[in-house]
C-alpha cells in the first residue's frame, strides 16, 4: 500500500537535494571549523555560508545575528532563559500566549520557579492572540514576550507586526517561535520587528540536529550551554556541520520554492478541507483564513483521535496527528485545543494533517474516502 504521509509537523523527510549537499560533510569534509588547517578553514567557510543562507531566508540584517543550536527546543530555551537571565536587572517578568509550544512553555515555567513572574495571554476561538490582554500583561519589566509565528497544531498565523508594536511600546524583547512557519510563509525579522526568532532545520526539510536562533544585533543573550565558546560564546559544542550545512541548503531551497509551493499546498489543502467538512459533525479548528498553507486541523464529534490515527495508518497507510488526550504523553488533551475553547471531549476528536513537499493532489480522493470510512467505523463503536 502506498504511503501517504501527512504529518510533516512532527517530522519531515529530508529533501534528497539537501541530503546530497550535506552527506559529504560526514566522511569527507569532516573538519572541525575551529581548526586552522585548510580542512578546518573549509569547514568554517561552510559553516559561515550556512549562516548566511539562513539569515537570508528571514531577511536578517547580518549573518552574525544567526546562532546555530541543536534543536528548536534548544533555540527556544536559549531565547527565553538565555535572554531573561542575561537581562534580569532590566526586569523579571516574562509573558507568552497560552498556545505556545511546550518547548516555550516549559522554559517559561522554569523561570517562574526561579522567581520570575510569568503571565500568559489567551487566544480567541480561532487561535489569534488577544492583543488587548497582551497590552495589559506586557510591562516595562517584561524582558521576554514569546509568541509563535504560527501554531503547529491549528495552523493559525499570528499578527506578529501588531504584536511587535505592542511589545515594544510596553516591554522589552519579542521572541517568536517560527518553527512551524519558517520556509512556509515569508518571514522578515526586520519588517516584522522581531528581536529573537527560532527556526528549525527539519521543518525546512533539512536534517535534524540543527536549528537557529536569530538574535537581533544589540540584544544580549547568555549562554545556556557553557563550554568551548563556539557560536560566539553563545552555544558551545563542536559544530554539527552535516546538519548545519544541510539546514543552510534547505533554507535556500525553501526560499526559492516558497511562493510556488505555498500556492500548491494551499490548493490541495482547500480541496481537502472542502471534502472533509462534508462529513457530518466535522469542524475545522484554528483560523479559517489566517493559517499556514499546508496545514489542516479538524475535529469530529463523538470519536477519538488516536483511533482515527491508528485506523488511517493500519487500514490505509496514511499518517496524521491528533491532539487527543489518549495519544499524549501526559494523557491530557492538547493545551492548544483547550485554549481555543474546545471541551475535553471535543478535543478528543482532533485530527491534524500537515502537508509537505511530497504531498500530491492526486491522493486527495483516496485520503478523503479513507477519512470518511474511518469516521464512520469509529462512530459505529462509540459510546457517545
Amino acid at each position: 500500500m502506498k504511503q501517504i504521509y501527512l504529518d510533516h509537523a512532527s517530522a519531515s523527510p529530508v529533501d534528497p537535494r539537501v541530503v546530497a549537499f550535506a552527506v559529504p560533510f560526514l566522511s569527507e569534509d569532516y573538519g572541525n571549523p575551529s581548526t586552522l588547517y585548510v580542512k578546518g578553514l573549509d569547514a568554517r567557510r561552510a559553516l559561515e555560508s550556512a549562516r548566511g543562507k539562513v539569515a537570508s531566508l528571514i531577511n536578517a540584517e547580518s549573518p552574525a545575528t544567526i546562532i546555530f543550536t541543536g534543536s528548536a527546543t534548544e533555540s527556544n530555551n536559549l531565547a527565553i532563559r538565555g535572554t531573561a537571565l542575561r537581562n534580569r536587572q532590566a526586569g523579571q517578568k516574562v509573558v507568552s500566549s497560552v498556545i505556545e509550544h511546550i518547548s516555550v512553555l516549559n522554559p517559561m515555567k522554569e523561570l517562574q520557579k526561579s522567581g520570575y513572574h510569568y503571565e500568559t495571554v489567551p487566544v480567541d476561538a480561532s487561535g489569534i492572540v488577544d492583543l488587548e490582554t497582551l497590552a495589559d500583561r506586557v510591562t516595562k519589566e517584561t524582558v521576554v514576550t514569546s509568541i509563535n509565528y504560527a501554531n503547529d497544531e491549528i495552523g493559525t498565523i499570528e499578527p506578529i507586526r501588531e504584536i511587535s508594536e505592542i511589545v515594544h511600546e510596553r516591554g522589552q524583547y519579542l521572541h517568536v517561535n517560527a518553527t512551524a512557519a519558517a520556509g512556509k510563509i515569508s518571514i522578515d525579522v526586520q519588517k516584522d520587528g522581531v528581536d529573537l526568532l527560532t527556526l528549525s532545520s527539519n521543518d525546512l526539510a533539512g536534517p535534524r540536529g540543527a536549528a537557529a536562533l536569530y538574535i537581533r544585533r544589540g540584544v544580549k543573550v547568555q549562554t545556556i550551554l557553557p563550554g568551548g565558546g563556539q557560536e560566539n560564546g553563545i552555544r558551545s559544542g563542536t559544530e554539527n556541520l552535516f546538519a548545519i550545512a544541510g539546514m543552510g541548503e534547505a533554507a535556500v531551497i525553501a526560499g526559492e520554492e516558497m511562493a510556488a509551493e505555498r500556492e500548491r499546498l494551499q490548493q490541495i489543502a482547500s480541496l481537502y478541507r472542502q471534502e472533509i467538512l462534508t462529513i457530518p459533525d466535522s469542524y475545522l479548528t484554528g483560523h479559517p483564513t489566517e493559517r499556514l498553507p499546508g496545514h489542516l486541523s479538524f475535529r469530529f464529534s463523538r470519536i477519538e483521535g488516536e483511533s482515527i490515527l491508528l485506523n488511517l495508518d493500519t487500514a490505509y497507510n496514511i499518517q496524521v496527528a491528533t491532539g487527543s488526550a489518549c495519544s499524549s504523553r501526559t494523557l491530557e488533551p492538547s493545551h492548544v485545543l483547550l485554549a481555543i475553547g474546545l471541551k475535553h471531549e471535543e478535543a478528543h476528536g482532533s485530527m491534524i494533517m500537515t502537508l509537505g513537499r511530497s504531498t500530491l493532489g492526486e491522493d486527495i480522493p483516496y485520503v478523503v474516502d479513507a477519512v470518511k470510512k474511518t469516521v464512520d467505523r469509529l462512530r459505529e463503536i462509540t459510546a457517545m
Binding site: S307, L310, T314, E380, I381, T382, A383
Partner: protein, 131 residues
Amino acid sequence: MEDVPQIGYTEKVMDHFMHPRNVGAVADPDGVGQVGNPVCGDLMEVSIKVEKDVITDIKFKTFGCGSAIATASMVTELAKGKTLDEAEKISRQDVADELDGLPPRKMHCSNLAADALHKAIEDYRKKTETG
C-alpha cells in the same frame, strides 16, 4: 540488560482494534455498565444478557483510544459464556495479558473495560435483587 518498554500495541491488540468483537448494545439488556475514564476522559459502555447466571450475550461501545476498543473487545470475548461469578473475576491484568500486554501508558484503559463489565454485572444483580 532489561528495561525495554513495550513499543506500540501488540498484534493481538491491533487485531481487536481493527476487528472488534461484539460491538454495539445487546437488545433488551439485563445489565448495563457505563464508566468514564478518569485519566483521559473516555467513555465505555458494556451491556449484557444473562441466562441462568451465565452471560449469553455481551456487547460494548466506547469513545476511546485504540487500547480502549481492543480491551473492550477482549473483555466481551472473555466474559461471553462465563457465569457471573467467573466474569466478575476477570481483572484488568487478565485483559492486558490476553492481549499480550499493553504499553505502560495504556494500562489504565484495560481498567475501563473490566470496570464497565463489573458495573454491568452489578447492575444486573441490583435489578434481579430488587425485581
